[in-house]
Symmetry: C2
């Protein structure tokens, strides 16, 4: 890790910044300008008396002072001066912390701004016991690094090292992680290394952080292999380590790794894995990396010593899409490639549906077999921030299908050979939407985002008036969870089912065994039933709108619709859209 | 391999073309239009009576007929109609052909247009005995697929399956390969899959062969992973197989693989390797693949079953640059990163100088250790078409340094643990330049190329008047080898040295043993001498301008300057810029 600042002599600090193209750089600290000295490879440094709490910035070639690219604190937002902080001052209570074994993780994805009414780290802490009672073992935070304004998903962040101040800043985030650990909850942070937000990104002023050699959905790509890329890579690797060291996270979820365009012989992800492995040994606790990957490439989750990038796991959209398309009947966009129960069976047995087959949505073949990877290298989910929030009206699965079907989805996710993940509110079938919301302080950009959203969905036949405006504060407010729903009988019942499913998963070793070769699936495409066998357990699903019977017998452990679940004569009868979990008598 | 045409019934042919965006496609054959039928995935087909010799093209949406993307013959140039040919009509004499073992290859790179006065395949055949007498075992042709006009290096070719007609077309190329095989010479073809030339490229009219997701030095990249890329990849893989099947080549040299931008889980090169391996088994003879790679990535030459792309070998510019910079003292461009004898020693021992170290030329770290790869996975050369022709005045090494230094280079290349390669004329220290020449038929493009060349070298301080005009026919004529030089004593002496060095390499198994761990090198940076030990042989070089002595004793097998080479008292004395090969008495 390249330190951006370090202890100097007698309470002074050595402040360092990379600005290879600048002719002069000054540190402006507490209102006083200090000329910096040029070092090797475009770095500038100066030793100054400094104290936590002081505001500072870097002045390039006599311009306005800019926030530090590696700022750890942006109390006044991404456009303003940075604040010096001392990470050693926090009083951690998690010295004895060790996360549960990765194979046993049950992940809960949440967005700090909308998880609670207050939208802060501290208010989120108050809900942690709810997660513990639910049986969750790992909490995943959507990105918390600073973004412009006060409302946002976090993927348009710009100050990569500084927790968003409106959430509670560095101290709030530390309190949150510490509170999780004190309850036995592992913590995962979503980090975005493939682009920076369109506003508040001062990095290009400092150096060649971006390249036009590749294009991404967000414009120029991060410069991972061109001139100057050593420092850009060090910046990113340093960021990954930062969250483990200074904030005690247990894992990172790395956003859209397919947009990390890197022709280096050592891909950035491999470099991150390698550095995190070394740090893990130094810290004496396991640290994990989870990728969001659309590459269909087993290399992502292959260990480094076998030529891979060494991620512990990756999100598995194939499973989601196969399940979603079967349950909803939707065939728009990427759902075009899904819809058969056979594909759902394939996803349950092999994680990936596309392992080299032609994808109509992509207009090309996609994927490659992963050959023997454990199921615990894949995350399974029926809902995520993306799958909900990227819909025009932010509908959760439980708002698209009836409650029975949502229960079947829960059973399949939580009984799957993968690492299950829930999206906040899913566990009670929340009726609040989760919409796309922004708070761009640049009015032109804000307008462009509002219009872009309407435009995007007009292409899918939406009336613009029905597409909520991302910039409208009401869109954000509507996306907040309504915890009062839990008082309602319907929601309480759904919550109870999730609790039971999770309890079953946690108590039955067959369910956390990721050996995919042990998973078998039987199904009938016409009759729309499917049975997944996992050791001594069978998970039977009726995906049709009518009752159906098929040969299966065993001790009934759990049913999503107990009153319509019957056994007799070696046959199991399931009500419409329902699932049952049986213990097989061998 | 996807056939572009195949035998139909009763002497008819099934003609097929990929044109996914066209609304109608007609085959225009022998002046008659035949509507084609749309098949799956954007392919069109029609069965017609057809005979070799007929001209044809494809008319998209009623436009002018265009040459077939997979045309095997363009008798009137790249812009005109294609000609149907029957590959079965050639009478091959090489049924019993088996190439020499790859480890023993000594490659000779030549350009058909300038190798002889006539510039044809047939006239090149007349010089093959010269190569056999020299000791060459493999002939590498610079690209011969069709390019616009009559003069060109071949890297701006556009009709990828059709040998250039001015060289002698398909029949001429077959005669050439057959003549090589009859003399025991293996054949290598240089193929360019990273771009097509700026004129005569009709592929984008047919389908998404290109993508702007990546940029290359030549503009948009070939579409290897976007929508429609299955067909683009099949086109390229089919081209690779085409040269092995229809022209009996023994190897392909794949140009600039670093510009093949491909995020697929199976990189195009791996797909080519896999297909060529299958073909090799079917044909019952070894087929080889050699990459030009600037990636510094061992994956290129790592076998497929170890996670690599399975190339047999790659060009090793690090060795060239280390040698060139030491001999010439040049430090411009990429030579900035070289110049020490230590680097030359490193190149001799490990092939790559940059295995992760910071490269000032690139402004970033470069390379990764290849861990145990054999020396025979790397080509070594002191001259290539690029290293000579990309200089403003096309000077060969023997025109930049005095003849003694050129002889030392020859000794190091031919005694190296790598596959040695010579550039045509090098073996007699030719004094003819090898310049950049073109013959663009589009006058605007021609002018742009002429001006671009002057501009490029003006940046290096060249007077534009001193930079030969690529479009001027005289530039091409001046680049032709002058075989009469061989009558001259100086040239004959150089030629004799090359013959002796090659004979020594071919007779001494220690020299073709690619085990890099057995190579040791001693050197003195100040005194500028270097000794490479290869089994029982020592190759001693004095790279200084004065005589030098160092401890070494053995039987003198060969010296570049016999009269200045002396032994006595356990010490070897070498004259200025000279080399000696000794057999060590153990």
């Amino acid at each position: 890790m390249v330190a951006h600042s370090s202890q100097g002599h007698d309470g002074s600090m050595i402040m360092e910044v990379w600005a290879p193209d600048a002719s002069s750089v000054e540190l402006v600290l507490d209102g006083v300008a200090h000329p910096m000295e040029r070092k090797d490879l475009g770095k500038w440094a100066v030793e100054v008396p400094a104290e936590p709490g002081m505001r500072y910035g870097y002045r390039l070639d006599g311009g306005d002072p800019l926030p530090d690219p590696r700022s750890n604190c942006q109390p006044d937002g991404v456009h303003e001066l940075s604040e010096l902080i001392d990470h050693r001052s926090f009083d951690w209570a998690d010295q004895a912390w060790a996360p549960p074994a990765f194979e046993g993780w049950i992940i809960y994805e949440l967005h700090i701004g909308t998880f609670t009414q207050e939208g802060t780290f501290d208010s989120a802490i108050e809900k942690l016991d709810h997660l513990v009672h639910l049986g969750i073992t790992a909490v995943e935070l959507m990105p918390v690094n600073s973004f412009p304004g006060k409302r946002g998903w976090g993927y348009d962040g710009t100050s990569l090292f500084a927790p968003q101040h409106s959430y509670g800043g560095p101290e709030g985030l530390k309190r949150f992680v510490d509170a999780c650990h004190s309850r036995g909850l592992a913590t995962i942070l979503d980090v975005v290394y493939n682009h920076l937000g369109p506003s508040g990104n001062y990095l290009p002023r400092f150096g060649p952080y971006f390249t036009n050699a590749y294009s991404t959905p967000w414009g120029d790509a991060i410069n991972l292999d061109g001139p100057g890329s050593d420092e850009v890579r060090a910046f990113i690797v340093g960021n990954a380590l930062h969250w483990f060291v200074n904030y005690h996270f247990d894992a990172l979820r790395i956003d859209a790794v397919h947009a990390l365009l890197d022709r280096s012989p050592k891909h950035l992800l491999e470099e991150i894995s390698e550095s995190v492995q070394i740090l893990s040994e130094r810290l004496g606790r396991p640290l994990h990396l989870i990728a969001e990957s659309d590459l269909g490439d087993p290399r992502v989750i292959t260990p480094i010593d076998k030529g891979g990038w060494g991620m512990d796991a990756q999100w598995n959209d194939d499973f989601h899409h196969a399940l979603h398309a079967v349950l909803t009947g939707e065939r728009d966009g990427y759902y075009l490639d899904f819809g058969n129960i056979e594909q759902l069976a394939q996803a349950l047995k092999a994680a990936w549906v596309y392992q080299g087959a032609y994808s109509r949505f992509r207009g090309r073949s996609h994927g490659r077999p992963h050959e023997g990877a454990s199921g615990s290298r894949f995350l399974a989910y029926s809902q995520t921030h993306d799958q909900v929030g990227n819909r025009a009206q932010g509908e959760r699965l439980s708002m698209l299908v009836d409650e029975n079907a949502a229960r079947v989805a829960a059973a399949l996710v939580l009984m799957s050979p993968f690492i299950p993940m829930l999206f906040m509110g899913e566990e009670w079938g929340a009726r609040t939407p989760w919409l796309y919301f922004t708070d761009h302080d640049d009015p032109e950009l804000g307008k462009a985002v509002s219009e872009g959203r309407r435009h995007e969905f007009a292409a899918f036949g939406w009336d613009p008036a029905e597409v909520p405006d991302p910039q409208d504060p009401a869109t954000f407010e509507r996306s907040k969870l309504d915890w009062a729903e839990l008082q309602n009988a319907f929601h309480a019942q759904m919550h109870d089912l999730y609790k039971k499913l999770i309890a079953l998963r946690r108590s039955h070793p067959d369910l956390t065994d990721g050996s995919l070769e042990k998973v078998t699936v039987e199904y009938d495409e016409e009759q729309r039933w499917l049975v997944m066998y996992r050791g001594s357990l069978a998970i039977a699903c009726n995906l049709s709108a009518t009752s159906t019977s098929f040969p299966l017998t065993g001790e009934l452990l759990l049913a999503t619709e107990p009153e319509f679940t019957q056994q007799g004569g070696g046959t199991l009868t399931l009500g419409p859209e329902s699932a049952a979990i049986l213990h097989l008598s061998q």
